[in-house]
Symmetry: C2
Subunit: 458 residues, 2 copies
């Protein structure tokens, strides 16, 4: 028994699957209890409970059942607990795994924690958990207070507090569950709500190591602080800013005469900005996604695929992975075989790992989309199933990136379809860190070098 406990503490990534399965099963059981059912709504089927529990634990946000009406207060509380545990859990475990696993020094990224925050050389689970809890409490607490003040103008004190708590946790954990059937569409023009939720999402998605790094270097002032930042933080901050701007500009341009039509300029900008923030794995929405143009939906899918940062509550490819791959391609075209950035060289193993991860991600997405198209459409020819392809692609990307946005397909999924989406949400949450763990397994013997012979490419 102590041996088991020891193993769990020492290798949390190995037990990640078990942990999340237990969390989901527990959530499923609780959500099927009659007390969790919303008054006047139908019984929660086992499949729907499992879907909701998976969506909450994996902080995805896809819903087959209305959160405000399909579940009672107790049901919502269960969902909120799953979100909070799932969010804190993934941040803690991914951070621990990233910084401790693997005997290859080149794949141990411990430097950020040890160098920048003075964590002991063997940054242990407890240390990380304590700091993650601290960051979570501070951020969610601040968000809660601001939202509470805003909500007091709208609801009675108890409802105001409950909504503020729920949305603050859901936003920081990038979960995307909301206590309104229209997500946050009724707050489309509400500056306080938009800014607070956006800030919570961005902070939650940037990743724990970046927060630690920023906290350390903030006192040095902007210029010196920036220079001092770890290369990972620079990548994440620049990349996040770039993709946020891309999403903002794209949405603004493409929807100017679309859903943004007839809005004043400041509102156009706020709605486009919020959409850009939420696509990158949060999953709230202040516009009806189904009424966006295909071009906007496509850009949104790209943003959802890219996602947020490692060791965060967000999902996707991860911004830093995309930045590494882009730099790699750029340097290759320049004829260089070494990636230097800000006077640092990025080890080849990292680039290899990024490419392999991206490829695996793509293969899973392709296979899942094919399967979903098969089970949802069977033999319906293309002209009779108009539009379902985009809906299905959007749903797959949203589940795998643990984003939670949907053009409306979630509600009409068949049993098989729901099972596929459940599997994808689980894979999207557990997959990346497991892949990383696999990549950093103890060093193998270096294979023989044979005479070189190159295949033609391109």
């Amino acid at each position: 028994m102590p041996q088991l406990t020891g193993s769990i503490v020492k290798y949390p990534a190995r037990n990640l699957v078990t942990w999340y399965l237990v969390l989901i099963m527990l959530g499923t059981l609780l959500l099927t209890l009659p007390i969790c059912r919303g008054s006047g709504s139908t019984n929660v089927s086992l499949l729907d409970a499992c879907f909701t529990a998976t969506s909450a634990s994996c902080v995805t946000g896809l819903a087959v059942r209305s959160t405000p009406h399909g579940f009672s207060f107790w049901g919502q509380l269960v969902i909120l607990c799953l979100i909070q545990v799932g969010g804190i859990g993934i941040m803690t475990i991914t951070t621990f795994t990233m910084f401790n696993l693997g005997s290859k020094p080149s794949l141990r990224a411990r430097a950020i924690l040890t160098e920048t925050l003075g964590a002991s050389d063997d940054a242990d689970l407890k240390w990380i958990l304590r700091h993650v809890l601290m960051v979570t409490a501070i951020t969610e607490g601040t968000g809660f207070l601001i939202l509470l003040v805003r909500n007091l103008f709208l609801y009675d004190p108890l409802t105001a507090a409950w909504h503020a708590l729920f949305h603050s946790i859901s936003a920081f954990c990038n979960a995307g569950f909301a206590l309104h059937d229209d997500s946050l569409m009724q707050f489309q023009g509400d500056i306080v709500v938009n800014l607070t939720i956006s800030a919570l999402i961005i902070v939650g998605g940037i990743g724990f190591p970046v927060m630690v790094d920023l906290h350390k270097n903030f006192p040095l002032g902007i210029t010196r602080g920036w220079q001092n930042l770890h290369i990972h933080s620079k990548f994440m901050l620049t990349g996040t800013a770039f993709f946020l701007l891309m999403g903002f500009g794209g949405t603004l341009f493409l929807e100017w005469d679309g859903v943004l039509d007839q809005m004043p300029l400041w509102k156009k900008m706020m709605v486009a900005g919020f959409h850009s923030v939420t696509c990158r794995t949060a999953g709230f929405n202040t516009i009806d996604l189904a009424s966006l143009t295909n071009a906007t939906l496509f850009i949104s899918m790209i943003l959802m695929l890219i996602g947020a940062g490692p060791c965060s509550t967000g999902g996707g490819f991860k911004v830093s992975t995309v930045v590494v791959m882009a730099l790699h391609a750029w340097k290759t075209f320049q004829g260089s075989t070494r990636i230097n950035f800000a006077r640092r060289t990025i080890p080849n193993e990292v680039i290899q790992a990024a490419t392999a991860t991206a490829l695996l991600f793509s293969v899973v997405a392709i296979a899942a989309l094919t399967m979903l198209l098969v089970v949802e459409q069977s033999t319906i020819p293309h002209p009779k199933s108009q539009g379902v392809f985009l809906d299905a692609a959007f749903e797959v990307v949203s589940a795998l990136g643990t984003v939670g946005l949907s053009t409306g397909l979630t509600g009409t999924l068949s049993i098989m379809g729901k099972l596929i989406i459940i599997a994808l949400m689980f894979l999207g949450r557990i997959g990346p860190i497991s892949v990383f763990a696999a990549l950093s397994r103890s060093e193998r013997a270096v294979p023989v070098e044979y005479p070189k012979e190159e295949p033609l490419i391109g």
Copy 2:
């Protein structure tokens, strides 16, 4: 002037853009001549002539105008000449470039030609052109004779010969132009036509170096011959077989009760097999693409993206690129940093180039699809533009992979849409070899190595 000629012969890739532009302009001018217009059809507009000339020169096969009815015999002859020149040209120039360009020995794949066929160490343009012409003449000649015999049962001798010639050239060049409005749908159950066209497509798409390598090693018998093959040929043959089987199995399974319904088993298999062959950049069809299920269309898009082989008449990512990337990912997951295959080590530069090419391809496809969605749909929201997303994605992939299949969007494209597709066909044809040329530019000074620092990924 002699200097100019020398430069053209020495660096054909540099002049590739010019050559193809001249070919396309010439074709455009010829096709606008009244004599090229089909009797009873409307005048050929400049844009449509340019579209057709680009499609033919780049051996793509997308058509805004019916080949049999929109053009006279003379028009069809112009198209056929553009196909033949475009096909032979791209094979010759890509082979020459691959084997001669670049001062990095690791990016000179000359070994296949020099070692296996005893070409002089500086395999020159004339040598390659002569051999490409030989291969083309033999293959197209054989195809022509078989198709001629078959056609004599159907048409008068002159028509039979013309159809046999046109389809034989169009198939070997992977062009996909046909002298029937329904492509080859009326030959759906014709074993001779199916096998002949399929064989021409596969031979044309496998790539000139593989043909040379096979020719050399064929006399050694299967076992020793296989062992003796260059690693590139092994990749291409294995990969092509794998993707053909994947397309065949996928189509058979997904369309069993769909378009293949009510066909006898042998016909189901033949139609599925032909679809699998044609997706990989040929562009003929024996089934109505628009009536396939979304799942089949999606798989077809993946096959179109992968495409055929380097130094061939086919387009796409190229099979060998995909094989290299898959091997790379596989080895990475096994914890190895070196790719060994069949007692050969694949140089890192090749893997880098493959990844960079794939990334660039994806970026172009994403940008083009976004643009096409914008110009074709402007502000029409998703629910009102049902199905167009898949059609547009299919069209983009088809143009960029120089495949030429379409679910029917080509005919309804706006002027801007046509221009985008023209640009994509051109890029899909000229892009890969230009990228390769850029990648093999003279070696830069190796950059300084800084202290290593890794971003987190995954």
